[in-house]
């Protein structure tokens, strides 16, 4: 991962083009973006919300095990979740992107505070080199008091 690659991946103004670039890069590395999860709520898909002073488009939402409606945003997935996984050599975990709804419903809550909940998948996944990892998801509350998926990353499981 070089600054040039980051600049190239993030160059297009349109989020769909940025996503397509990342999908192309990932395909070259041998990873495929999963299809959108079937077990999510798409009623508000396409609506826009302000998150930390940026306009974001709802991809889907999920009611988590705490009864919170948690939104997953298109721009956030591309510009933060995907980009960071590529930057950190965690591309392999992107195939588990569609597990977000199930982990929010049935994952283990590692930490909960008024504006943040940390989830860890119940399932252990086999990662490259035979390592075992779980998927960690952190949801946060915006200044508008909506919950959103802040990150998804793999966590080494001994």
């Amino acid at each position: 991962m070089t600054p040039d690659l980051i600049a190239w991946l993030t160059a297009p103004e349109d989020v769909r083009e940025r996503r397509a670039r990342m999908a192309g890069y990932l395909a070259n590395e041998g990873y495929l973006l999963p299809p959108p999860p079937a077990d999510a709520d798409y009623d508000e898909a396409g609506a826009t919300h302000w998150v930390r002073s940026q306009e974001m488009t709802v991809a889907y939402s999920v009611v988590d095990q705490g009864g919170r409606r948690v939104y997953h945003y298109v721009e956030h997935e591309v510009d933060h979740i995907l980009l960071r996984r590529i930057e950190r050599s965690e591309e392999w975990a992107i195939q588990y992107l569609a597990t977000i709804p199930s982990i929010l419903r049935r994952g283990r809550v590692s930490e909960e505070d008024p504006d943040r909940v940390v989830y860890l998948s119940q399932r252990v996944y086999v990662a490259p080199a035979g390592s075992k990892c779980r998927i960690r998801i952190i949801v946060q509350r915006t200044e508008g008091r909506r919950w959103y998926v802040a990150t998804l990353h793999p966590r080494w499981d001994r």
Partner: protein, 140 residues
């Protein structure tokens, strides 16, 4: 000379990524983030088990900085590092994170207060225009 680190900062949620540039690329995963209360992570190579870098994905340096410094004092990470795009050489990890905080977070305090309003802070007084707006700027 310290070990060289690549650095990137994302101001959306005050995220930083520090990755070693002197070791081969390999698949990674987060390690020991619970030790640092999910405010800081070690990025670990899955093939070699080596530490590949550091990050705060899922945290927010603007909110976490004081507690993160306490946690790094309790669970120190040894070593001296060079971060060329921060102009730092032979710096410890707390020194690097302090530099990131001072350059990328503290300087945006006014902007951040819109995102994290200070409780009890007085709202700014609205200014009333002392002359009518230009006709060309009037809404139809």
């Amino acid at each position: 000379m310290g070990r060289p680190l690549y650095f990137r900062f994302d101001s959306f949620d005050n995220y930083f990524c520090l990755k070693f540039t002197d070791c081969p690329r390999e698949p990674t995963a987060v390690w020991q983030d619970d030790l640092y209360e999910y405010r800081f992570q070690l990025i670990r190579g899955l093939r070699t088990g080596e530490i590949k870098g550091f990050s705060n994905d899922g945290g927010d340096l603007a909110q976490d900085y004081p507690r993160l410094m306490e946690l790094l004092a309790q669970h120190p990470i040894p070593g001296l590092y060079d971060v060329p795009n921060l102009n730092l050489t032979d710096a410890t990890l707390p020194q690097i994170i302090t530099a990131i905080y001072e350059r990328y977070v503290a300087t945006r305090r006014a902007e951040l207060q819109q995102v994290y309003p200070v409780v009890g802070a007085q709202a700014p007084v609205l200014q009333v225009a002392d002359r009518p707006a230009d006709k060309s700027q009037t809404e139809e």
